[in-house]
């Protein structure tokens, strides 16, 4: 009679690998590759694209040198192919500047939040939610003479109407 537990060392490696795909980078995989299962080429490219997402979260302009080092690629052509595939996958949007050898990111997907960073993410989202309220307060604190458009808005749209738009006519 044989009893196997799910938490054997080989299965734990797969969970660690999944965590690296969730919020890790290719460099972290390479650093711990001895304890992790092998990944094939397609999975490696996917992890490299996710690494580009992490780099894009830090700065909008990423030099090719940084990308080549982080992704452990040798030539620019392979790097550009990897980035273009990530663009088609919807991971990030941007422009590849071959003159200055930089990747300008205009839009990027988010990655999974690490367990320790959840409170920081909540505070960031709270601050983002409060931005329109601050703008609203600033807008209505201006004197009417300095902002004629504000007077027009107040005349036409009551506050209750803005907060709770009326139903469309059937």
């Amino acid at each position: 009679m044989t009893f196997n537990q799910t938490g054997s060392p080989d299965t734990k490696g797969w969970l660690d690998l999944l965590k690296i795909f969730a919020f890790g980078t290719y460099a972290e995989y390479k650093a711990n590759s001895a304890n992790l299962p092998q990944i094939d080429d397609a999975q490696a490219i996917k992890l490299k694209q996710l690494t580009v997402v992490s780099l894009a979260c830090d700065s909008k302009v990423i030099p090719y040198d940084v990308l080549l080092t982080a992704l452990e690629l040798k030539d620019t052509r392979t790097l550009e192919d990897c980035i273009i595939e990530g663009m088609y996958a919807g991971l990030f949007v941007g422009k590849l500047d071959q003159k200055t050898k930089e990747f300008h990111v205009t839009e990027t997907a988010g990655r999974d939040c690490k367990p320790g960073e959840l409170s920081e993410m909540i505070s960031v989202l709270k601050a983002w939610v409060e931005v329109p309220f601050h703008l609203f307060a600033v807008f209505f604190s201006l004197p009417p003479a300095s902002c004629p458009s504000r007077a027009r808005v107040v005349m036409r749209l009551p506050v209750a109407r803005i907060c709770c738009p009326a139903r469309p006519a059937l």
């Binding site: 009679m1 938490g7 969970l15």
Partner: protein, 160 residues
């Protein structure tokens, strides 16, 4: 109730008005599904059209990660490992947080859950074939556990 569970009705019973018949897209949902738009998963879903009685056809939108979460409900041990392999190989799946939080996937970390119960005539006859037992195994509610002789189980071993 987690965020995912609260969004489940929106996922599975999306009105046909907002969903067209193509296979993989979620562009018209941006105004309604801002949470998932923030996750950048709107182009990662599968759309099915189903017939609901007295309500007409409904388009059912199932995200890729929802499919994996459903599969994770019945995957333990090696099946969970295979599911992880599929998830990291899927070219449309880039978020794994929900999958990591699933109990069957997080159990791969070392939780002592009985996954495979395999018994044979040989292993029951030869005491040396049994694995060494230094301490009582947890989560063994399938049979009687004797500290001296190992697990005595009224199982299919009698059939071999």
């Amino acid at each position: 109730m987690t965020l995912f569970e609260s969004m489940c009705p929106l996922l599975f019973f999306w009105p046909a008005t907002y969903v067209r018949e193509s296979a993989c897209y979620l562009q018209p949902h941006l105004t309604l599904c801002t949470t998932f738009a923030a996750l950048h998963t709107w182009n990662v879903c599968t759309c099915y059209r189903v017939q609901i009685f007295e309500k007409g056809p409904l388009d059912v939108v199932v995200f890729v990660f929802v499919q994996y979460l459903i599969l994770a409900n019945g995957a333990r041990g090696r099946a969970a490992v295979a599911l992880v392999q599929q998830a990291i190989s899927n070219p449309h799946l880039f978020h794994f947080g929900e999958l990591i939080d699933h109990e069957n996937i997080s159990a791969l970390d070392g939780a002592p859950v009985l996954s495979v119960l395999c018994c044979s005539h040989k292993s029951q006859k030869e005491p040396g074939a049994n694995p060494p037992r230094s301490q009582p195994q947890p989560c063994l509610n399938l049979g009687i556990v004797d500290q001296q002789r190992g697990p005595v189980h009224a199982s299919c071993g009698n059939f071999f």
